[in-house]
Symmetry: C2
Subunit: 449 residues, 2 copies
């Protein structure tokens, strides 16, 4: 295996984590990475903050440039090279060199598909108009900011109230726009429960975002130059100088599917716990691949940078003579809107219901610090407990600065299959500037004890 | 048990948590609480912040006043009543009514000893001089601030570089004093390792605290009015208008010991996991009692508000028809000095060595947020792993705001007996304003994988 040749499709988190891991183990092994964009190893999660102005240069979002990867890591990374076909029998890929418009083939011994995900575009009239933007590659973020800087849009409409929608609302507010957010769901953040989500949308409204829920997108109105001018829902017309799509992502799995590689959850590439696909010596990692959910015990599609990096390390280890499995995910996620922190892990009520779980939930309001210590604020914590097993199966947190990262305690407790009584007795840290004497996650756990 | 009479000695965290729990279960049961001070249910941990000015009134540190406890909770709480003897055969206590200077006796069916701890006073000349202060009761904090307000001391010397010493350094700096801190140990925070402690003392120096380590306290110099004027160590004379002792605490267990009740770790009252003492129907909880350490598997003396509250709930539950055990502690603790957060859990290297553990440690430096996101700072994380069992046994964190509470993830992982590989694969939360894509505690865990 030492002398075998590794080809990686996709030069971002999962692909480069795996390639780096293999390179550290095998300084001489041939590694070729094809990346269809201009950039490698960039922080896609940082794009809303780049657009909003918290991050002053796109370069800062690049962890490792192609030059560094080539020169320091001795990895043959080829940007603007799009893999168009995989032949799993011949063990080779067909590659389109976008710069020179040439087609080439490259053989492999091991192939890692790390093609990521891309924003879903609802199939409505005008969805591809100028000024309708989704955040996919770093280039898409750069172009979005260029448009904002050049055209100075006054009104921004965000379609979709998930993480990206919430983060883009903060970003566009920071750019001085009149911001509307529309979602066909009756709540924002559908990965959380309605009671918690209402705290978020109320806060967003208080910050000046016009939030319209339960409105179905009908079409994007365009002018005679093909530029978006408004978003039309089933109830109103929202003028828009710029439109951002936060309608979720879909895995870039068509390349794999066309090669006969099995796909699974929501079309993501099916993998086992070693992250092997159905084709021999073909691996998949990151946003294009499935993960195992530790609580639902199902294969799921969760596109997050943390998972992509862990996937990359697992594949890289297995390609370096190791034999490791990726245990799975909880769907842990965190974001913020201005000063409101938002986090979740495990199952929501909707997910628990879909799975037929017999569960109960408790929601508490506490404080991020000792009540008498200045600078604290409210924190709301919700926990879900499976009544049959007695285990904690989900948690959600919304609150003032200092709230969100507490979800990690819940995620760790769920991973360990803790009961609420176990959580209540955890020896968590306390001092007045940091927490009430019972940490809010323990206050929530005590509701079940 | 419903009709039996409960007497509690000590009206703070442990005592009042237990009494409240019993009251909620048994609205009619007779509960008498004797408290030798004026105050009940106060936040002793808040005193440095009261003295420093972050908290503007001592009343805000009182969770429940004696009046509220008497009227709302129907608990017969008697302040300024000091229990002077326990007769475990006759099942009664002797009480000195300090206000009326009278002695009375009170019978009990169940007795809870929750007498807390008090600052150790090193046995040196001048230690009881005017102006030499330890923080024990809320009253001691009120008097300290009164002295600062009235006499406007210019120089403050803190003896002892533990939590209280560090917090008092912040407080006295905030009061505009020239602050020195002296400790006979070669480092501050002896519950942490020297490498981590040096980050703390370096920071304290940068903030203007004069830190003198490895200096042995010789005597307190006094003037002819018996007021402290300087702290003399084996190497120098530190002028002092006010002296604060942060030389640790000792359990208030003499009352129990004189009654023939067994004591254990560092003189704390010996208890089993139900928090029963050696005497029938006599319980002990909080800072006066032992706890079981989950990693060392020894009985230990750890005086902390979190433990006291949990002890109180365990005793209260057991006195309300329940049958629960307190699983134990990890010695988790957190504090800060200005903008530096400090936290620890589990075993330090010194503790692991004393226990003969075969361990290894790793220390990493990371960032509290994504490197490109503004407002973050450095965080240093150290983990200890037992080489025989492969489990994480200790963690220490020092860093910028947002660092400290990450110790809770480590504490939860240790409680679950996780290996570094388990920690590395935890689905912890990530977004640029909150963390690098690998949370710093996972970066540390990866060093062992």
């Amino acid at each position: 295996m030492n002398e075998s040749k590794l080809v990686v499709i996709g030069g971002d988190a999962a692909g480069m984590s795996a390639a780096s891991k293999v390179r550290r183990s095998f300084p001489e092994r041939e590694i070729v990475v094809f990346e269809r964009g201009k950039h490698t190893s960039y922080a896609a999660c940082g794009m809303p903050y780049f657009i909003g102005g918290d991050v002053d240069s796109a370069d800062r979002l690049v962890a490792r440039s192609p030059e560094v990867i080539r020169e320091k890591m001795k990895i043959d990374v080829r940007t603007l090279h799009e893999v168009t076909a995989i032949d799993t029998s011949a063990k080779q890929v067909t590659v389109h060199d976008l710069k020179h418009d040439q087609t080439l083939t490259e053989s492999y011994d091991d192939l890692l598909i790390a093609t990521g995900a891309e924003p879903s575009r609802p199939p409505i009239e005008g969805i591809n108009a100028h000024g309708v933007r989704g955040l996919s590659s770093l280039q898409s973020g750069i172009e979005a900011l260029e448009e904002i800087s050049a055209r100075k849009p006054k009104t921004g409409v965000i379609v979709g109230g998930g993480y990206i929608g919430i983060e883009m609302a903060e970003a566009l507010l920071a750019r001085g726009m009149h911001v509307s957010l529309v979602d066909m769901a009756p709540q924002v953040m559908t990965t959380m429960d309605a009671d918690m989500a209402s705290l978020i949308s109320d806060y967003m409204s208080s910050q000046g975002v016009h939030v319209y829920l339960g409105e179905k997108l009908q079409r994007i109105e365009t002018d005679r130059f093909g530029r978006a001018t408004a978003v039309l829902t089933d109830t109103q017309r929202l003028p828009a100088d710029i439109v951002f799509l936060g309608t979720g992502v879909k895995p870039n799995s068509s390349l794999a599917a066309e090669a006969g590689i099995e796909t699974g959850a929501r079309g993501a590439i099916a993998v086992n716990k070693k992250l092997q696909t159905s084709a021999p010596r073909v691996w998949a990692a990151g946003d294009c691949a499935e993960s195992y959910h530790l609580v639902s015990q199902e294969q799921v599609f969760i596109a997050l940078g943390t998972v992509a990096n862990k996937h990359g390390v697992v594949v890289g280890t297995n390609l370096s003579g190791g034999d490791v499995e990726f245990p799975g995910v909880l769907g842990t996620a965190i974001t913020k809107m201005n000063e409101l922190e938002i986090a979740r892990t495990g199952l929501s009520e909707a997910e628990a219901e879909r799975l037929g779980r017999n569960f109960e939930s408790a929601t508490i309001r506490s404080h991020t610090r000792a009540g008498y210590y200045p600078g604290g604020g409210d924190i709301t914590v919700k926990l879900l407990v499976d009544k049959d097993s007695g285990r904690v199966i989900g948690g959600q947190i919304v609150g003032a600065p200092g709230s969100g990262k507490r979800i990690d305690t819940v995620a760790t407790a769920i991973t360990c299959r803790m009961r609420p009584s176990d959580m209540m007795n955890l020896d968590l840290s306390y001092a007045p500037p940091f927490s009430p004497v019972w940490d809010p996650v323990q206050v929530a756990a005590r509701r079940f004890v």
